[in-house]
């Protein structure tokens, strides 16, 4: 189960990552012949998932959407995890003042509805670029990582092997890098995977509101679905893009999220010997 999920995840990540090679024509390449506008899935001409109302291949747009969504989610999650781990170590390992200053701050940042935060930031930054979105996610979600890492490190710090290392004269840096962090790696990896999933889902929701990256600038999975829904699914509008225009990015989004969650739970189980036995 986990293996299957990992395989799908790797395939999706690779497809998004190699979008430059797989679809070198870019996300705005248009087929001008009227026959290829709003065309349902067909095997001719390579438009396996159909085209949108401008004659752009849904397959190519979804691939690029995956590319940009991945960039936001993976880079954002990595940045957030890096910051979160550093602050978690500072608060959990040293305790004292750094703990009592940093943790309430983390609670404050972490307790905030990210969607509203996005709204405020995006009001300033319109039109939003991929990097804007990435950095906003990184700056607002590090607190979740910091909280779990701090709890884990505070419990590791009081264990005997850390005492032993200190008695042998190891420096703080050595203890943290060689003894504490490896023992907290399970928590960190799980937090990282769940963060990637969360960013994908929040990003899609924000873009669905029309507050995120604009699909006319850069397609992402979220704004592709939002675009199709603004002109089609849902019962509010008569102008219709075909079901394939939102169905394809939606399917990729769901596949991505299922495989991330399964892989994350797999990591968690593999890194926790108690659960492996059970």
């Amino acid at each position: 189960m986990t293996l299957a999920a990992l395989t799908i995840l790797v395939i999706l990540l690779a497809a998004g990552g190699f979008a430059h090679e797989l679809a070198p024509q870019g996300w705005n390449s248009i087929d001008l012949s009227p026959r290829w506008q709003n065309h349902p899935p067909a095997f001719a001409n390579g438009n396996v998932f159909g085209t949108d109302n401008l004659g752009r291949s849904i397959l190519v747009r979804t691939l690029w959407g995956l590319h940009f969504s991945e960039q936001v989610a993976v880079v954002g999650a990595l940045l957030a995890t890096t910051v979160g781990v550093m602050i978690g170590v500072l608060a959990g390992y040293y305790g004292g003042v750094s703990d009592s200053v940093l943790m309430p701050f983390a609670d404050l940042v972490g307790g905030f509805p990210v969607i509203i935060l996005m709204l405020i930031v995006f009001a300033f930054l319109r039109p939003v670029t991929i990097w804007d979105a990435t950095l906003v996610f990184a700056f607002s979600l590090w607190a979740l990582v910091a909280r779990v890492v701090r709890a884990k490190i505070a419990s590791i710090r009081s264990q005997e092997f850390v005492e032993a290392a200190r008695a042998l004269g190891a420096s703080d840096l050595r203890i943290i890098v060689r003894h504490v962090l490896p023992n907290a790696s399970g928590v960190i990896v799980v937090a990282l995977t769940s963060l990637v999933g969360q960013i994908v889902i929040i990003d899609a929701t924000v873009e669905f509101f029309g507050f995120g990256v604009d699909s006319s600038l850069r397609p992402t999975l979220g704004n592709l679905i939002a675009n199709a829904s603004a002109t089609g699914i849902g019962v509010f509008n008569e102008v219709s893009l075909g079901w394939w225009a939102w169905g394809t990015p939606a399917l990729v989004l769901v596949l991505l999220l299922v495989s991330i969650n399964l892989a994350g739970d797999g990591f968690e189980a593999a890194l926790d010997p108690r659960r492996r036995a059970a």
């Binding site: 509805p113 969607i115 930031v121 769901v254 596949l255």
Partner: protein
């Protein structure tokens, strides 16, 4: 206890104040009506208005007349609609989450358990807005443009259904909201679909966690003791094991409230519940507001309410944890 409540209250007010200042500056700089004076005096006018009611009265009252089918929803109504959606959805999450965990506890490893677990992964992976669109689309095609069976596709009791689908020009008379019990029945009809849609993903995520923590609890020694003393399985699972597994579940749901609230805004908009989400989308430049006007006074209130609800949720989470798990009481 008093010190704890006071500390949280002071922190909460500081957060709300900072938040309102930041978001006001962000929004007002985009608002064509508020650029004639510097930002800080504008903010001061708004802040006074929060306390004397002027700002609240301007909620959802665009000074530039844009065609907004929902104009007239007051702040209290909008909050009430969103709160009703959240309460019903959270009740559903609780019921179905506990149900999922109990199925696993009673028939561990059975087909039902494995199937439900698989479904829970799928459920969490479909964002609420996407599920809402799919449900609406599907029920539109098997029902008609106003709903499927007793369940309307959009609207709030007493609101005129928005012009839907191909018959956009033809409106039937507005159904009455009813009063007393019939109002409650209507409310149930209108809220069923949105609340279910909102709850599905949360059950998928938190129900699965509850399931694994309940199974872990059932493996612990005190359950063996309880079984050995001859208690019925019902009593062991419901009273002994569930009581241990529940606090973490409730705390997790409440600490996830930011995401839940965001999803509720989207569902609210799609199902036309005239709540905070609908106002937010129609008063901020985006797909539903093609004119691109920002109504600072509306969005500001949504931001403020969202912040207050978040702070309240984390406060309630701590209280619930303390109440259900006495061990955390000494920790403070």
């Amino acid at each position: 206890m008093l010190a704890f409540v006071l500390r949280r209250a002071v922190l909460g007010f500081l957060v709300l104040w900072a938040l309102s200042l930041a978001s006001f500056c962000a929004l007002a700089s985009q608002d064509v009506l508020l650029t004639n004076r510097p930002l800080l005096p504008q903010y001061w006018t708004w802040l006074k208005g929060v306390f004397n009611g002027n700002s609240v009265a301007l909620f959802n009252k665009p000074a530039i007349s844009v065609p907004n089918p929902l104009a007239g929803t007051t702040l209290l109504e909008a909050i009430g609609h969103t709160a009703a959606l959240l309460v019903v959805a959270l009740l559903l999450v609780f019921v179905f989450g506990v149900g999922l965990a109990l199925v696993a506890a009673v028939w561990r490893g059975s087909f039902a358990d494995v199937a439900l677990r698989g479904l829970s992964y799928l459920a969490w992976a479909v964002p609420a807005f996407l599920l809402a669109l799919i449900v609406q689309k599907a029920l539109f095609s098997i029902g008609n443009e106003y709903g499927w069976g007793p369940f309307p596709l959009a609207g709030w009791p007493g609101s005129c259904p928005p012009p839907l689908g191909l018959d956009a020009g033809v409106l039937p008379g507005c159904p009455s909201a009813g009063s007393g019990l019939s109002y409650l029945a209507n409310l149930g009809r209108y809220l069923t679909l949105p609340a279910l849609v909102l709850a599905v993903g949360l059950v998928g995520l938190h129900g699965r966690y509850l399931r694994s923590s309940l199974l872990e609890t059932l493996d612990s020694p005190f359950i063996v003791t309880a079984n050995a003393k001859g208690l019925t399985q019902r009593r062991v699972v419901l009273v002994h094991a569930l009581r241990v597994a529940l606090p973490a579940f409730i705390a997790a749901v409440l600490s996830d409230f930011g995401a839940i609230f965001g999803a509720a805004l989207a569902v609210d908009w799609i199902f036309g519940l005239n709540g905070l989400g609908t106002v937010l989308v129609s008063d901020f430049p985006g797909p539903a507001n093609q004119f691109g006007f920002t109504n600072t006074y509306s969005v500001q209130m949504v931001v403020l309410v969202a912040g207050a609800i978040m702070l309240l949720a984390s406060f309630v989470a701590e209280l619930v944890l303390t109440w259900l798990d006495p061990r955390t009481r000494t920790a403070r």
